[in-house]
Amino acid sequence: MTNGNLPRLSLHVPEPPYRPGAQVDFATLKVPPAGMQPRPDETCSAVDTHPLCLDMVRVLGEDHRAHGPWDPGLDAATLIRMLRLMALTRAFDARMVRAQRQGKTSFYMKSTGEEATAVATAMALAEDDMVFPSYRQQGLFIARGYPLVDMVNQIFSNRADKLKGRQLPIMYSAREQSIFSISGNLATQYPQAVGWAMASAIKGDSRIASAFLGEGSSAEGDFHSALTFAAVYNAPVVFNLVNNQWAISSFSGFAGGERTTFAARAIGYGIAGLRIDGNDPLAVFAAVRWAADRARANAGPTLIEHFTYRAEGHSTSDDPGQYRSAAEGTQWPLGDPIDRLMRHLIAIGAWDAGRQAAMDAEVDAQVRAAVRAAEANGTLGHGLHHPFRTMFEDVFETLPWHLVEQSRQAIHERHVKWPEWSDDADAGEGR
């Protein structure tokens, strides 16, 4: 239906540039030279950061050397530790995908290509700053020393799983390491991080909060509520927005990425914002440290867009070959974070191929040992899990009558299915 001579309206539905089989040309992606971006003081006016929301903070150059004012000046030992944590994360991911294919668990999500966003962030924050991760920040847990075997126990949902087999694999919780319980509902952790940061400020504490989400889930209302609250109360929080270009099969255009950068969201809220090369571990470290120092100085929240690439599928349930060109990953202009840091260490004379090979073997052995130890506690659907009654615990602090009744029913059903099983066993390992 048209009205007179008015033009017919048309709907724009975004379309990613490179579907399967397409040739890839990243020439239109603006990648500025490393070291060119100014570094304002941490306590600057938020407005002074806003040009950086449309730029890209980079430290590691094509010559594999660190450049410019954002160079965090880390010593070689710290850089080697960073490299090792990223390599360990990648080795862990590889082994867990294999375990999933072997039927030891139902599900896994790799962070390949995005290791710097989690590992360098963890290293830039204070150890007791509270982090609210999304689901692809296993590097945080690894960098903060959460035991690998506990991660695998959780992934195998076995009797040693600290979360009692309740959560989908990789939805860890690590209070001791100041990492918040991971939710499967996207972006909910953003306002929670703001609330935690507000509480810290209310109590006159010195700890800050930091949250993660992906560019896709920045479309959720929670993201915008969180930024509003953080801006209103000047909350001491560092927002990490990991723009890995893909939300399962939907490219960043479906989150508004065709219009402007994600860091530019900060401009509208009047908070500090930085857009950084997320595959440059030194840029990640420097930006997060800058934002953390800013928050700690009561100068307010910062939104950091980590511009990176999801090099693998969304999860073990996903095949990215169905919807995007494989050439995207191979030709990604920002490279790979582990490779770039390794080349940097070699360039400054602190590393060589032999040490790299030895480290790779060590981290792989470390992961294998953790998997072996976890397997002794059972794998999903094979053997040992938590007792039936634990299903009813922690719904509330104490069991109300209706859960007591339902718990009896569950244990009754177990007797029906396995008459030989004794009541004593339920107090122990269950079946």
Binding site: L163, S181, N185, A199, I202
Partner: protein, 344 residues
């Protein structure tokens, strides 16, 4: 209690709620109050009047108009160790915060195996009778009673409002605290065409000073009787009781006070005694909490029942503005249900 009880005074429900917040803020510096217009102004219903002046702006503050944000930050504050008491200005506005309540606050203890908890008491006025139209009159309690991990509380008197609110704030699980806004200033008996009665003349408006708890999960027999059991909460406790007394029915009126956890023992004992059960709520009928109550009574008291269980509820429509009193489950609807039960 009587007017001569020491350290007790007559209060409206809104004053009793304010007093509970005052008592808890004075006792526990982890208690903070936040919500739309709750700070300097003291809330659109005055529930938080005077609190910001007394406890300061970092413990009592206004928030952006974002229920998702309000509940979301409350989860983070609870995880930090505070005891937030967010106000949602009307229960009708709570839906943008639903994901943070249902998927987050309610599940945090479970999903983290007790590593993190989200103690919070979400206060929110609910129910009709004030010409609020469809967006200021709803009773959405059944949406919350359906969620594992949430407690749902509804006071019906000033005394209970204070004691239940204190118990809710001290509880380590998230609590949705529905305040029947028609009862804020008087014990409404359903006869909207009669002069309003203030709380001052009601025995349960005598509220002790200081700290006391009305435990969650304990119903109250408001009126003992032999002929029929009435299960109600909030405004409908007063309405159902008034109908029974005007019709001369020896009803046992039970104020549930807490829907989850439910005081099933008190319900069973009463229905087993009377053999008849009338369930009354203001919320819409289909899938309402009355359906749960009806199923429980049938399952647990079937052999004592002498008549079909009666449910009196709001209609399955939005709450209309001009036809508010035609919608409201008032004396006619309740009276006829009583009559059917008595005749059975």
């Amino acid at each position: 209690m009587s007017d001569t009880t020491p350290n007790a005074r007559r209060m409206s429900m809104i004053e009793a709620i304010n007093d509970a917040l005052d008592v808890m803020m004075a006792r526990d510096c982890a208690v903070i109050v936040m919500g739309e217009d709750v700070g300097y102004f003291g809330g659109v219903f005055r529930a938080t009047a005077g609190l910001q002046k007394k406890y300061g702006k970092t413990r009592v503050f206004d928030t952006p108009i974002s229920e998702c944000g309000i509940i979301g930050v409350a989860v983070g504050m609870g995880a930090y160790g505070l005891r937030p008491v967010p106000e949602i200005q009307f229960a009708d506005y709570i839906y943008p915060g639903l994901d943070q309540l249902v998927s987050e606050a309610a599940r945090l203890r479970y999903r983290s195996a007790g590593e993190f908890t989200a103690p919070m008491t979400v206060r929110t006025p609910f129910g009709g009778g004030i010409f609020g139209g469809q967006t200021h009159s709803q009773s959405p309690e059944a949406l919350f009673t359906h969620v594992a991990g949430l407690k749902t509380v509804v006071p019906s008197t000033p005394y209970d409002a204070k004691g239940l609110l204190i118990a809710a704030i001290e509880d380590n699980d998230p609590v949705i605290f529905f305040e029947p806004k028609r009862l804020y200033n008087g014990p409404f008996n359903g006869h909207y065409d009669e002069p309003a009665v203030p709380w001052a003349r009601h025995p349960d408006s005598l509220v002790p000073a200081g700290h006391y708890r009305v435990p969650l999960g304990q119903a109250r027999v408001v009126r003992a009787g032999e002929a029929v059991t009435v299960l109600a909460y909030g405004t409908m406790v007063h309405v159902a009781r008034e109908v029974a007394e005007r019709q001369g029915i020896d009803a046992e009126v039970i104020d549930l006070r807490t829907l989850v956890p439910l005081d099933i023992a008190t319900i069973e004992a009463s229905v087993n005694k009377t053999g008849k059960c009338l369930i009354v709520h203001e919320a819409t009928r289909t899938g309402g909490f009355g359906a749960e109550l009806s199923a429980l009574v049938q399952e647990r008291c079937f052999h004592a029942l002498e008549a079909p269980i009666e449910r009196v509820t709001g209609f399955d429509t939005p709450y209309p503005h001009s036809l508010e009193w035609a919608y409201f489950p008032g004396p006619v609807r309740i009276g006829e249900a009583f009559a059917r039960l008595i005749a059975a």
